[in-house]
């Protein structure tokens, strides 16, 4: 009767290592001395990520792909995405471990005496490390889940820690808590949409496995009302995570309210994980009925690109501006979903990596621009930054140029690859709108650069914090990656081309 389920523990090992690190972190939180915890937790998390990366390297050419009784598919694309998520997680961890953006005691009421006392005593919430590990494990699982139940569980596993982390900012705590609550409520709402869609797909196919749904979808029995309802509702759940218009409402508030290093992690890693799942679902399950959904996703991609770029122009806060820019980038990557070919997949993988690294660097630099009350995100106060610190302002300007897609930056190569892949399959309208909104986006990026280098500074209150060694490594490595991948894109393009394979 009951046969023992056979796991492929080797294939699951990167995720299991991160999950184990998270659990060990929770235990350390409970039993070890508070004074040593920050170092211990950082050691556990970094160690686990490195171990998981080694495991990923070991399984990268493994012949078997199915693990955990068919719930997980570890194919080439998964391995690439998981590796990307881990590297982004490692660099974000270095930013996050500069604890001073985080609240000293999350349970203390904002502005209370308890808060002041715990801040001056220097206590910190080291729980952020296990939470980050859980989020990482959830994201890794999200890219490789091959049944709808596992996909849903993974979605929740990586969302829940992010909701919590978003609310732990040290300064402007009410804004941060509001952001966390908004993110939580809207996230729960979008999860419900996802489940509703999953129920319809189960209804049509009698199975939750993507393979079976794919064959039921292409079978063509009956009409496909159930398939379309399922497809649309599942897409709503997934598009929420990548903040595509019209499911973007949470993005600016959460990006602004969350501690900047968490924003960096969220912006970079969530996009990779969510696009991993979207690409898998559309490439593996829904590709037989591409004619049905292409118009919908095309429209969403176009309005996402145009809306994100247009609204970003009006922003006066640098974090909100980057939030709208991330919405626009979601639209660009959605174009690759429309392409539905190998070059589209490869372009998406390349774009996700370079965009993730540049975003980490940009938010990392924002953490350094401060005045007496903490980070300065008001763009007006950034005037004249170029004279104060040419290196920092120069790097930020370079990253903005990469977001804009100016040649010789990695952003240009990414956009070029994506648009040419979409052009191959004849989505001319989307490509035209993509190029136009890139031009629109360039306008506000360049406005910020002019502000930093040309405008006169009105006040001298802002200063540039001297980054710790960890932040220096994180910001330096990500900026360097943006430069190198812009000059020698083939280094990464060759890898993404050989890894852009989805297996059913």
């Amino acid at each position: 009767m009951l046969t023992t389920p056979s796991f492929e523990y080797l294939l699951l090992s990167p995720m299991l290592i991160i999950l184990a690190a998270a659990v060990i972190g929770v235990l350390a939180e409970a039993f070890l001395d508070r004074n040593h915890l920050p170092v211990i937790q950082l050691f556990i998390s970094v160690g686990a990520i490195l171990l998981a990366l080694i495991q990923i390297y070991r399984i990268k050419s493994s012949s078997s792909t199915s693990a955990a009784i068919g719930s997980v598919v570890i194919d080439k694309a998964t391995i690439y995405l998981q590796g990307t998520i881990l590297i982004i997680g490692l660099l974000a961890l270095l930013l996050i471990s500069d604890q001073e953006q985080f609240v000293a005691q999350a349970s203390a009421i904002p502005g209370s005496r308890e808060e002041q006392e715990s801040t001056s005593k220097g206590s910190i919430q080291t729980e952020i490390y296990p939470l980050l590990s859980f989020a990482l494990a959830g994201m890794m699982l999200f890219t490789c889940a091959s049944d709808l139940i596992t996909l849903f569980v993974a979605l929740e596993v990586f969302s829940l820690p992010l909701y919590l982390l978003a609310g732990l900012s040290r300064r402007r705590r009410l804004l941060s808590q509001e952001a966390a609550l908004k993110y939580f409520l809207l996230g729960a709402y979008s999860s419900a949409f996802f489940l509703f869609g999953a129920a319809f797909l189960y209804g049509i196919s009698g199975s939750v496995y993507l393979v079976d749904i794919s064959s039921a979808v292409s079978g063509g029995y009956g009409n496909d009302v159930f398939v379309l309802i399922g497809l649309i509702f599942i897409s709503v759940g997934l598009l929420f995570k990548i903040s595509a218009v019209p499911f973007h409402a949470w993005t600016p508030d959460v990006y602004q309210g969350a501690p900047t290093s968490v924003t960096a992690f969220m912006a970079a890693a969530t996009k990779v994980a969510a696009f991993g799942a979207i690409l898998r679902i559309f490439y593996v399950v829904f590709s037989p009925i591409a004619n049905q959904w292409r118009p919908i996703i095309s429209v969403i991609a176009i309005i996402t690109m145009v809306f994100g770029s247009a609204v970003a122009i009006a922003q006066r806060d640098v974090k909100r501006m980057l939030a709208y820019s991330s919405i626009a980038h979601a639209g660009f990557i959605l174009t690759a979903v429309l392409a539905l070919n190998k070059s589209g997949l490869s372009a998406a993988l390349f774009y996700l990596t370079t965009y993730g690294l540049s975003t980490l660097a940009a938010f990392g630099i924002i953490t350094l621009i401060r005045d007496a009350t903490g980070e300065v995100t008001d763009l007006n106060k950034w005037a004249g930054l170029g004279k104060k610190s040419p290196l920092i302002a120069g790097s930020f300007a370079f990253l903005l140029l990469s977001f804009a897609g100016i040649p010789l930056t990695s952003g240009f190569i990414g956009k070029f690859a994506i648009f040419s892949a979409a052009y191959e399959t004849g989505n001319i309208a989307v490509v035209v709108f993509g190029v136009l909104s890139s031009a629109l986006a360039a306008f506000f990026y360049i406005r910020v650069i002019l502000l930093m280098f040309v405008a006169q500074s009105q006040n001298d209150s802002i200063s540039i914090a001297i980054p710790s060694v960890k932040s220096r490594i994180a910001i330096g490595a990500t900026t360097a990656a943006t430069v190198i991948l812009g000059l020698f894109p083939s280094l990464l393009l060759n890898i993404t081309q050989s890894f852009s394979i989805f297996i059913k």
């Binding site: 009767m1 009951l2 046969t3 389920p5 796991f7 999950l19 998270a22 659990v23 929770v26 939180e29 508070r34 955990a68 009784i69 068919g70 719930s71 997980v72 005691q105 999350a106 349970s107 203390a108 308890e114 006392e117 715990s118 005593k121 206590s123 919430q125 729980e127 296990p130 939470l131 859980f134 494990a137 959830g138 699982l141 049944d147 139940i149 596992t150 569980v153 993974a154 929740e156 596993v157 829940l160 820690p161 909701y163 919590l164 609310g167 732990l168 209804g203 049509i204 009698g206 079978g219 029995y221 009956g222 009409n223 009302v225 159930f226 309802i229």
Partner: protein, 262 residues
């Protein structure tokens, strides 16, 4: 064989009667949940919706799911809701202020629109396979069948949920549990502080609240020998909540030096 989804989903008569009696009631209760003013009534209507769902589950041969629905949702989750209502206060009603103009008409229109769209679409949907019912799945018993699936086919998702539960517990600790910054005062410290305090009169402990035949006395201050009110006799919690009665009405006379020695 292709039939419409409605035909496939049709039930046999006893179940159909149950459905047509309970379903309108539960929909009414769900709508009422949104319309009633008081949170407690809303919670009770929610309990009714959950119980009727449980009855549907049991009618459709999913016995275990029905019981779990009652135990977990109607039992545990509803109790949590009521606890929270107790803490917040039974009388507190939601603020129904609209931040965005015309939000409500827009929301109602959109809801009716998408609801109508879904109903009309599902009404026209066709399906190529029959509804199986649970009789095949329940061959070896309902609970056994579920257990077998949970520990074989879906064991990975089942195990990963533990990560979710740990995250939830950890998050609750982060948001609600505070590590004491100062060490707690011991009884010895408190005693020493009393004797070193300004007034030795309080060293023996604070006076109890007043005792009046007219009134439940916890919220009325005691009277000092001169007839004035002893402010220290009232619990600070009551004071903070604003539940203290004006003691003047119980006083016999007004003395002039009362305000100085509270």
């Amino acid at each position: 064989m292709i039939r419409t989804a409605l035909e496939v989903g049709m039930t046999k008569s006893p179940e159909a009667i149950l459905f047509w009696v309970l379903a309108p009631l539960s929909v009414l209760a769900a709508i009422g949940m949104l319309l009633v003013k008081k949170a407690v009534h809303s919670a009770l209507l929610l309990a009714w919706v959950m119980i009727s769902l449980a009855i549907f589950y049991i009618a459709q041969e999913a016995l275990f799911l029905g019981i779990v629905q009652i135990v977990v949702y109607t039992g545990a989750v509803m109790m949590l809701f009521l606890f929270i209502l107790m803490l917040v206060g039974v009388d507190s009603a939601d603020s129904l202020l609209e931040n965005i103009k015309y939000l409500r008409p827009i929301a109602v229109t959109a809801a009716i629109g998408i609801g109508g769209l879904l109903v009309s679409l599902i009404g026209r949907a066709t399906i190529s396979h029959n509804a199986y019912g649970l009789s095949i799945a329940n061959q070896n018993g309902n609970v056994q069948g579920l257990a077998q699936l949970l520990f074989t086919k879906y064991v990975w998702a089942f195990e990963v949920i533990s990560a979710l539960l740990i995250t939830a517990a950890l998050g609750a600790m982060v948001l609600a549990h505070s590590n004491k910054v100062r060490s707690k005062f011991s009884q010895r410290d408190l005693s020493a502080a009393r004797f070193r305090g300004k007034k030795l009169a309080e060293a023996a402990g604070l006076p109890g609240p007043g005792v009046y035949a007219l009134h439940n006395a916890v919220d009325v201050p005691a009277r000092l020998p001169d007839g004035s009110a002893a402010a220290t006799s009232i619990s600070r919690v009551l004071e903070a909540r604003g539940d203290v009665l004006e003691s003047k009405q119980f006083e016999l006379q007004q003395s002039e030096d009362e305000s100085s020695d509270k």
